[in-house]
Homo-oligomer: 322 residues x 2
């Protein structure tokens, strides 16, 4: 590691924009913040070289951005706005200062975009690079948006297109460039939560059950159904499959591909007019199925149930995201 | 990694005692807690195999305990009581389920002792093992106890003995067993903050400037003086050197050895009677010097300044603890 303590602390200090609520930022045993009374969401999510990515196809700048983005995604999915984060970075000796600079720049750009303040953390030596971010957000909904709150009769919806990130990763791993794949590459390298749409969903009180899609639609929906003790009946024809996946015959990635960080949520039928209005206003929302009594996820194609052989996507050798 | 997702989540769930303030614990995108208005302390600190320890001399049980203890130490040093933590564990494929069980047991024992609640985290594959804990505490002092608050004329004190952990590590690394070294081994393997004494210091409002000693007395005191823009004048004869270090001629470890997790604090002269009373009540506090104008740390032996060649201790290839 070429970076000395003083450099690092200086870098981290200048990194931060801060706020009146931060009484003590980087530089002490811990950070001190004033919090108003209320409900807060806490998350922690890591990215590890050779497990989640390789530097050969993901520049440190995007590693930094993505480490923030995946935690933001979890915070939003609970109905909260991100406020603060801490970060531990495990740095192998071979990693250069410019690489670390770009990593920081990525974290800075991603956190500043949402006014999230860096409070501190740790930098340690490591054989393989890792970055582990913890984040605190404040609930802006009356009650948290939980995986355990899907109700019988609710409709199931997702934002955006699914499988883009998985196809992007596929291309990066193969080292293939392909016209028309830019959106998929971007979705893997630089995923962003559909923040504007999220605000609309919150504002119009559309949903009480939300999660982000990090490991793939089917596997994540199964988790939601398990927590809610319900079954999901999905209509295959309504899944938002990107055109490029259809063209390539890789539609299945829309069901099984991870890391899109789109939002999955349920809503009562009476909210359908508001959802349709949001769609008309240009927001990409797909109503893909319905919650019923039972358990697990069932997929229907033109009204007929089909069986899925591969359920989802997990990072190699890794537990799924919380 | 032999542990499957479901096992892990189950393990983590049963791990937790919880409280009415935890509206949603493990099992969702994030945890949701009710917090009362006030000041909170946030810390994050990691331990990495081959950097901070080897499993050959530190059992997973103690790795788990210590990962909690080092974060508790930072929280207490700010004047706060720990409430919640999240943890990311990087698990190499070679690690066995019983090892992971013991790691969890260590975390559980350490966190339950202080009623700290596990809220979640992440488990990821990794080449080398790492554990990264983030922790939230609530300030119980009117203002945080900062490294930046040492005042000219204040006395400087430390709790316990210094250099014990470094000597314990030395023995473990060499594979030596030695009579009378039990306390030093324990201090390295199972460090505990002087919690009872800490409560007394808080209760009697002794100090406004505190930090924990994680990297060694001199290097940590230099950090405090840098933040406070003062100099420290240390009296070598008052440093609490363990008898075993004197016997071995390794007194210097008391100045430079890390990982004792004792507390370093300053206090105004007018508080000296209370400090003396705590000493009479059996608390190990050593008044080791005085804060003056200037910068850095000066060490005096029988009134004469001596020069230190080695200033402190840093983990190999690593940034110091925040």
């Amino acid at each position: 590691m070429e970076i000395s303590e003083n450099n690092l602390i200086k870098k981290l200090k200048k990194f931060g924009k801060t706020s009146d609520n931060v009484l003590r930022g980087i530089g002490d045993d811990g950070a001190v913040v004033t919090m108003s009374g209320g409900q807060y969401v806490l998350v922690q999510d890591a990215m590890v070289e050779h497990v989640h990515f390789e530097f050969s196809f993901l520049d440190p700048y995007y590693v930094g951005k993505k480490a923030i983005a995946v935690n933001v995604s979890d915070i939003l999915a609970m109905g909260a706005l991100p406020l603060y984060f801490l970060v531990t970075i495990g740095v192998p000796a071979r990693m250069s200062s410019p690489d670390i600079e770009r990593l920081y720049k990525g974290m800075k750009d991603a956190s500043r975009a949402l006014n999230i303040i860096l409070l501190g953390g740790d930098t340690v030596g490591a054989d393989s690079f890792f970055i582990d971010v913890s984040m605190v957000g404040k609930l802006v909904t009356k009650k948290y948006l939980g995986r355990d709150k899907a109700q019988e009769g609710d409709l199931i919806a997702v934002t955006g297109y699914l499988g883009e990130a998985a196809y992007g990763l596929h291309l990066l791993q193969k080292g293939i460039t392909e016209t028309g794949s830019g959106k998929c590459l971007k979705r893997f390298m630089d995923p962003r939560s559909p923040y504007t749409l999220w605000k609309e969903l919150i504002k119009h009180d559309i949903t009480v059950a939300m999660m982000d899609i990090s490991d793939g639609l089917i596997i994540d929906l199964e988790r939601m159904m398990a927590e809610s003790k319900k079954t999901a009946r999905l209509d295959l024809e309504n899944i938002p499959v990107p055109a490029i996946l259809r063209k390539k015959g890789m539609e299945k990635l829309a069901l099984t591909g991870g890391e899109d960080y789109q939002l999955l949520f349920t809503f009562p039928q009476k909210k359908l007019p508001q959802v349709k209005r949001l769609q008309r206003e240009g927001h990409k929302i797909s109503v893909i199925g319905k919650v019923a009594k039972g358990k697990g996820v069932k997929v229907f194609k033109n009204g007929k149930e089909i069986l899925l052989t591969e359920k989802g996507y997990q990072h190699f050798n890794e537990e799924p995201h919380e």
